[in-house]
């Protein structure tokens, strides 16, 4: 494929062209200025896909589950995209993205698109451009977009704010407690999955989780009560039930009208994040000039970080 400007890629992506979609995803990730108008155009075509965040601690069987869930979605005739997010190296910024491994069984089906992204250490957790990647898939006609994250903590909370439905995966035998509590992600789940339920100790994990939910430790958002779905990759059980539960959640959000509030919250967060990013980029652009000067003042303690930032913003206004 020869070089194509982003605006020329948009009609192809809207028609479902794999290569055009893939190129736009790369430009979403790099934050390319050339692609800005193209993403504005794509955004007008979004709003149809159901966005599902899936998270869980390493070893919870999450990748296997995502692969099976994608297969179940395909079996029902819907198109599915997966954004699989892995951490970047804090040293080089590079990353090894291994999550395609489990996707082997899905190979060759044009109704499944898997894209790996690195966290890139971006402020706020989610991979830079991950939500624009979701826009690309949404606009290109994928019915369901699964965002899969590894790790623990901030990333997971960010997913909950970016997804319509959030699934948290736990597994028996990974430790004494429910790992989701440790990770601080119990509260964000709309659906809990307990994987590896062929194991003898799975019942205890399920019981612990249900008790926790009953005690109200995981305060539900709105009228939906978080549900627990047991799965077993070995016995090939529970995946269809999980998909049904995700669909039920979507319907419940629509019926209660809460979907609007969720979408508004997602929009607000994206707006603020975009604002932060724009400011940050403009601050950093003159890294060796103005920024370095302010940093020197900070080092002498003659200026505080907050005052320095206020000064920079005021100057941006003057130069605008």
């Amino acid at each position: 494929m020869v070089y194509l400007a982003s605006s020329d890629l948009v009609p192809k992506a809207l028609a479902g062209d794999t290569r055009a979609i893939a190129r736009l995803l790369t430009r979403a990730e790099s934050g390319s200025a050339e692609a800005r108008p193209a993403f504005d155009e794509l955004f007008r075509h979004t709003g149809r896909a159901h966005i599902v965040g899936i998270t869980g601690v390493p070893g919870s069987g999450k990748s296997t589950l995502v692969a099976r869930l994608a297969a179940a979605i395909r079996a029902g005739g819907r198109k599915v995209a997966i954004v699989a997010i892995d951490p970047s190296s804090p040293f080089s910024g590079g990353a090894i993205l291994g999550d395609r491994i489990r996707m082997g069984e899905l190979g060759g089906d044009p109704g499944v698109f898997v894209r790996s992204m690195a966290t890139r250490g971006s402020m706020g957790g989610l991979a830079r451009g991950a939500l624009e990647a979701v826009d690309v898939f949404d606009a290109a006609g994928y019915d369901i977009v699964l965002i899969e994250t590894v790790g623990v903590g901030q990333d997971e909370v960010d997913i909950a704010r970016a997804a319509h439905t959030t699934v948290v995966v736990s597994a028996p035998g990974l430790g004494d407690d429910i790992q989701a509590i440790k990770a601080g992600i119990l509260e964000i789940a709309d659906v809990h999955v307990v994987s590896k339920c062929d194991r003898a100790d799975a019942d205890k994990t399920i019981a612990d989780l249900k008790n926790m939910l009953m005690l109200g430790l995981a305060s539900a958002r709105g009228t939906w009560r978080p549900q627990v779905v047991p799965t077993s990759a070995v016995r090939d059980e529970g995946v269809q039930e999980l998909l049904t539960m995700i669909d039920r959640h979507r319907e419940a959000l629509a019926a209660s009208g809460e979907i609007d509030a969720r979408c508004a919250a997602i929009a607000e967060r994206r707006l603020l994040a975009a604002g932060e990013e724009i400011l940050r980029d403009r601050f950093v652009r003159d890294r060796h000039g103005r920024l370095a000067g302010l940093l020197a003042q900070l080092a002498r303690r003659s200026l505080s970080p907050h005052s320095a930032a206020t000064l920079l913003i005021a100057e941006l206004g003057e130069n605008a």
Partner: protein, 571 residues
């Protein structure tokens, strides 16, 4: 991680003699050594073995004082540090077992006969990738791989041609095969029955060490639990029906080839050993009923004394595990016997002729370490599978060691060397440390699933690559004494492009001629046996191959029961 940098065992409660010796050694360091170094510094501040164990300037009686005399012992006596047998090579030298396999069964049969004619005393079979992974030659995954790196075997008919004209009661046959090993074993049994042999006469080995596949070599089909059950079935079947046959060859070689350290190579085999023994014990079999036929397979790497110490230490560790952990009473259950292969990964493409020297040194270390059988690599292995000429030189290398060097005339000639004994004891302790850590963290299978073994291998491999890149680990011809613009004009083993077509034609003919209804019925029986782990999978598999079932028929059928394995890789 276990710390191999722990100080060497030095005498704890020294007697008067030791105190006097220590004073002498200290004085020597202070006077002669210090003065000498002031004039001519040593090449490095700290020397270490290839495996990272620090080595001292020299060793004295002080360094063996903490090793109990009975741990060194005598050849053929517990704990067998000095050799599994009292006379070792004074009776019969080690088995010279060059591995061979390429093309179709007829092609490899020709190479076998060539090697036997040249004085080889055991056979060893290399299979092609499809056979190793349980695919028939006409499976799409086999495209381009049939008969290329080893011989293609799909059916019992192939096995019959492979050993045509070779009396299997007179020569031992080793088969390098893992996830599909039990099917090859079934073919071997069916072949022996057709020829009217008594199964107890057969001697040989199947590798069948599946745990190290998940950890190192990465040849697998099914998930870990059913795969370990198959290994268990091979061990119990052979214990009952094939008294001279080794149903498993617990292998460290591949840990080393995958980049693991010499310590991890031997330590991981002990962890895997423990798992297999425990599995077989669960069937109610006593350790002395099957342990005498457990066999091992190690690499011989480049660090001469370290390798010798490694072999001596693992023999001692094995003896102690079998007696103390598993309650073995029969000495045969405590003698570690191993096959050894020189290190393919140490061979280089640049200046490839010098691989003969590398291999010669490694082979000498294997013999001084007490190997029971040995494969020496061909000088051209960095290019392709070896030619006949390369194999002949490799075999002659062993024959020179056996017949000209004199090292085979004394048992454990390095026994009592301060350095070798000290390093042996260090290795023993480090191996037990790894075993303890694995026990503490929940056992071998759990840690394999969690990629604990895989990570240790990857880390050592990465370190080694960095050391090669910056020259800290010299490799002659690669990062030292490099010859510019080298041209390779050696004759390579040719690949016959008609191999796949010939193999597939035979396969189709067999499928057309066999009793397909009988095969189908037996495959259903196989499913039932697979679903009941109290049963042994060998009898039905033997019936299947005898009825003309292909390897792929059997393997694919069981995938519907057990599924397949996919690893979560670590970096």
């Amino acid at each position: 991680m276990n710390d191999p940098t722990q100080s060497p065992p030095v005498d704890g409660g020294a007697g008067n003699g030791d105190a006097a010796l220590r004073a002498t050694v200290d004085a020597w360091e202070r006077d002669e050594v210090a003065r000498f170094i002031a004039k001519a510094p040593e090449r490095r501040a700290q020397f270490t073995t290839l495996g990272g164990f620090p080595v001292k300037r020299t060793y004295t009686a002080l360094d063996v004082a903490s090793t109990p005399a009975e741990d060194i012992g005598l050849p053929g006596q517990f704990p067998y540090t000095r050799g599994p047998y009292p006379t070792m090579y004074r009776g019969r030298t080690w088995t010279m077992r060059q591995i061979a396999g390429f093309g179709t069964a007829e092609d490899t049969n020709g190479r076998f006969k060539y090697l036997i004619a040249n004085g080889q005393t055991g056979l060893s079979t290399d299979f092609d990738m499809p056979t190793l992974m349980g695919y028939d030659s006409d499976h799409p995954m086999s495209d381009g791989e049939v008969g290329r790196e080893g011989v293609a075997v799909d059916t019992l008919a192939d096995m019959e041609r492979l050993f045509d004209g070779i009396d299997l009661t007179k020569i031992s046959v080793s088969m390098t095969i893992n996830p599909s090993a039990w099917i090859l074993l079934a073919m071997y049994v069916a072949l022996a029955r057709r020829r009217g042999y008594d199964l107890h006469q057969l001697s040989g080995t199947i590798q069948a060490d599946i745990l190290k596949e998940y950890q190192a070599q990465k040849e697998w089909i099914y998930p870990i639990a059913p795969s370990v059950r198959i290994v268990r079935d091979c061990i119990t079947y052979c214990a009952q029906h094939m008294k001279r046959y080794n149903p498993i060859n617990i292998s460290g070689y591949h840990v080393s080839e995958a980049g693991g350290s010499p310590l991890d190579e031997v330590a991981f085999t002990m962890c895997n050993l423990i798992t297999y023994v425990e599995e077989v014990q669960k069937t109610g079999m006593h350790v002395d009923e099957f342990a005498p036929r457990l066999a091992f397979f190690y690499v011989c790497q480049a660090d001469f004394f370290e390798e010798i110490a490694k072999f001596r230490a693992v023999r001692r560790v094995y003896a102690k595990i079998m007696r103390d952990r598993f309650g073995a009473a029969n000495p045969e259950s405590m003698r570690l016997r191993f096959h050894c292969q020189t290190a393919a990964a140490s061979l280089t493409k640049p200046q490839y002729e010098i691989n003969v020297v590398r291999t010669g040194l490694q082979a000498l270390a294997a013999v001084l370490g007490g190997a029971q059988s040995l494969h020496t690599n061909g000088k051209d292995e960095a290019f392709a599978i070896p030619t006949e000429e390369a194999m002949r030189i490799a075999l002659r290398t062993q024959q020179i060691i056996a017949d000209e060097s004199g090292v085979a005339d004394v048992v454990d000639p390095l026994g009592g060397s301060y350095f070798v004994e000290s390093l042996t004891t260090q290795y023993e302790r480090a191996i037990f440390d790894v075993i303890d850590e694995v026990d503490r963290r929940g056992g071998t299978i759990k840690l394999t699933e969690e990629s604990w073994f895989q990570r240790r291998i990857a880390d050592f491999a990465y370190d080694t690559a960095l050391k090669k890149a910056d020259g800290e680990k010299p490799v002659i011809g690669v990062n030292k004494y490099v010859m510019e613009a080298e041209r390779f004009d050696l004759e390579l083993h040719p690949y016959d492009v008609s191999t796949a077509a010939r193999q597939i034609a035979g396969l189709n003919k067999l499928r057309a001629e066999r009793d397909n209804a009988r095969v189908a019925a037996l495959l259903e029986e196989l499913v039932a046996v697979a679903g009941d782990s109290a049963q042994n999978i060998m009898p039905v598999t033997i019936a299947l191959v005898d009825a003309g079932a292909t390897m792929g028929d059997i393997v694919e059928k069981l995938k519907t029961v057990w599924g397949t394995y996919r690893e979560r890789p670590i970096f």
